[in-house]
Amino acid sequence: MRDLILVRYGEIALKGKNIRVFQKKFYKNIKKAVVQFNDVKVIDQFGRVYVECDSEDLELVIQAVTNVFGVVSVSPAIRVENDIEIMEERARQEVERLRLEEGAKTFKIETKRSNKGFPMTSPEINKRVGGYINQSIPEMAVDVHNPDILLTLEIRNWTYMFSKRYAGLGGMPYGSAGKGILLLSGGIDSPVAGYLMARRGMELEAVHFHSYPFTSERALEKVIDLGRRLTHYTRTLKIHSINILEIQKSINENCPSEEMTILSRVFMMQLAQRVAEEVGGKCLITGENLGQVASQTMEGLTVTNTNVDIPVLRPLIAYDKVEIIDVAKKIDTFETSILPYEDCCTVFLPDRVVTKPRVDKISASLELVDREGLIEEALARKEMIIISEGEVLTR
């Protein structure tokens, strides 16, 4: 048995002359999302995407498709010829099936006639098909206000019938908005920030900083697990893992101790920018959230901003923590994020931290260490992890 799924998109439809570019990307992304299933076919027809699959896989395919950015909703559908007798009979079968399987008692027929060549109007079709069902299934009653089954007939070059709608994530096709470098820490915020940017179409590549052996190897495993989750949406993800222990040691030895956090942060941004240059990233993405911790004050953000040249996108800047947690739970990164492994921000945490750093003072402190040398050395030992469809490909 084969099933057909009808895929709807939203914002892409608002595009002008370049709409085909977005549509093509969208189509390709859906193809990639379902390639894991046997005998699955993705059809791109007049700006509409249909997925045909084995009935056994229906639920999993729906789940995979609804995780593709740009999808507003999907519906399992029945396709029949534009012939009113075939339509009414197939509609009857479908209503009968829902009556038996789900105990539906009332129904309504709703017609959308995009194909104006069809000789009947929408109200006429509703009346004809509804009347037919009403007569042939005595247990079913019509209810136009609050029906158990709302069966929609969409008349295009074929007629599509559906009664269920599964919501998608919305957004724009992944990879349609350039590449950004995500600073992925292992906490709750950064995976959410990455997810939100990816949903707007930005391709992600991640950078992770650690201070091994001062941080645990499990901290990196945790970041990889978060990366695995993100590939449910991005399909693949590269994580550049950079050890910044030497940098932290040097800051610790040479700079005022209360500036430890903000100075480390500056180095992280600069390292991330170097990765961006290397791989064609157009911006940095962080999970920073105004006022959450000492380095995320307006003064702190000013300092980190002045030390990089490309834009720093902070999609969570105005979120409340509970809102971030809600998204983290939705994308299933929360449970992993809260595992208690030390990250590189806490290893050298001084008793007192500067909450309102000044650009000039931080610049002066940066002069106290061998900035270029430290960055080069850290980059030289950079490692890369490639994750695809939840599996680590290379380490």
């Binding site: 091994y212 052996p213 001062f214 645990s216 040691k249 030895e253 101790s257 208690p340 050298f348 945490l349």
Partner: protein
């Protein structure tokens, strides 16, 4: 080079064990409960292990119940024996393994009167507190033989005769359970106890198989229900491979028990001598089992120390592996009255019969050297 010094967490499978279980994978794969010869053939292996364990423990074959390991044995020993319709007193110590401690905490929440006995600076139960804790409504005493974090040994046989005396005097029936997971293979099973838990993977057997000695006459119920395996106390198709491994490993351990105790004691004293020379080093384990040494490298967080050692191929533990995932300091080290500075920098070094003295010594020197290096880095923060 790899220097594995985390034997109290788990051990390599002994080559003799590997040899002994090889044919169980593809040849002797029958279900011991099957009536045909495939089943009988498999059953022989279980029986063989049961005989070995009975002999070592000094009990009867029907007193050995195979389980999935220490945690299950401890749970079964406690939850399977306490009366279901009578709440009374349960006595344990404050330094038990989580598989005992958590069970008692759970029972305390259910309304049992649980007494957590304090220990002295050596980790030994304060005997007079124990004696006074025994009451007529006491249902069970459960303490560990050897502590997993710092090797403290409890006076099990003395406690057993104390309980026996009390039982006779008051016509009561207090059960005595001993968690022997860290002691098994190194010490003889103490006399006079009712239940004894042991595990295979701590003595070069396989993970996933252990057992519980249950003295005849002890009333015990299963925790899960099913078939008639393990006298209906632990139903489920037997882990033949694990149980066979447990038998072979136990036999090996007890065959060379005395010589290995001497060897382990020698390693321990060598390590102590080296560590004692360093003023920033405190040995937390005293007069305990010879295969565990607990040391604080003051000023160096144990997790940082652990990862730095690992970069040199040296594997040790901070606290015990089971509790190091929780961010709170070790409950054992707290109970013996260590300072926060000692607890935060404590490292557990544990080794086995196949550890050679020279590598233990060089590892000890390496530890001091690394600790000093780390102190320099951390100094300013």
């Amino acid at each position: 080079m790899e220097y594995y010094f985390d034997y109290a967490a788990t051990t390599q499978v002994a080559l003799e064990v590997t040899d002994g279980i090889k044919n169980l994978l593809n040849e002797v794969y029958g279900n011991p409960s099957s009536l045909h010869s495939k089943g009988v053939e498999a059953e022989k292996y279980i029986k063989g292990s049961r005989r070995t364990l009975a002999k070592i423990i000094g009990g009867k074959e029907n007193e050995i119940i195979f389980t999935s390991g220490g945690t299950e044995s401890n749970n079964l020993a406690i939850l399977g024996t306490i009366p279901q319709n009578r709440k009374g007193r349960l006595i344990t110590s404050s330094i038990e393994h989580p598989s005992v401690l958590e069970v008692f905490k759970h029972l305390a929440g259910k309304g049992y009167d649980v007494v957590f006995l304090p220990v002295d600076a050596n980790g030994v139960i304060q005997y007079d507190v124990f004696k006074e804790a025994l009451t007529q409504d006491t249902l069970m005493v459960s303490v560990m033989h050897v502590n997993n974090e710092m090797g403290a040994i409890q006076p099990i046989e003395a406690m057993a005769s104390e309980i026996k005396k009390f039982n006779t005097a008051h016509n009561s029936r207090i059960l005595f359970h001993v968690d022997g997971v860290q002691a098994f293979g190194k010490y003889l099973i103490p006399k006079g106890i009712d239940l004894y838990s042991f595990s295979g993977h701590k003595i070069h057997g396989l993970k996933g198989a252990g057992g519980l000695f249950v003295k005849s006459g002890t009333s015990i119920r299963p925790l899960v229900y099913g078939g008639a395996q393990e006298f209906s106390i632990r139903p489920g198709t037997e882990n033949i491979i694990g149980i066979t491994a447990l038998g072979i490993a136990s036999e090996l351990a007890y065959a060379k028990r005395k010589s290995s105790l001497t060897h382990l004691a020698e390693i321990q004293s060598k390590l102590e001598t080296i560590f004692l020379k360093d003023g920033d080093c405190i040995i937390n384990s005293k007069q305990g089992a010879p295969h565990i040494l607990n040391v604080s490298f003051l000023g160096v967080k144990s997790e940082v120390m652990l990862h730095s050692l690992e970069m040199e191929g040296i594997y040790v533990s901070s606290g015990s592996a089971c509790s190091s995932k929780k961010k709170t300091g070790s409950h054992v080290l707290k109970a013996i009255g260590l300072t926060d500075a000692q607890i935060d920098s404590a490292i557990r070094i544990s080794y086995g019969n196949d550890t050679d003295i020279e590598s233990a010594e060089s590892v000890a020197h390496k530890m001091l050297e690394i600790a000093e290096k780390l102190r320099k880095i951390m100094r300013r923060t």
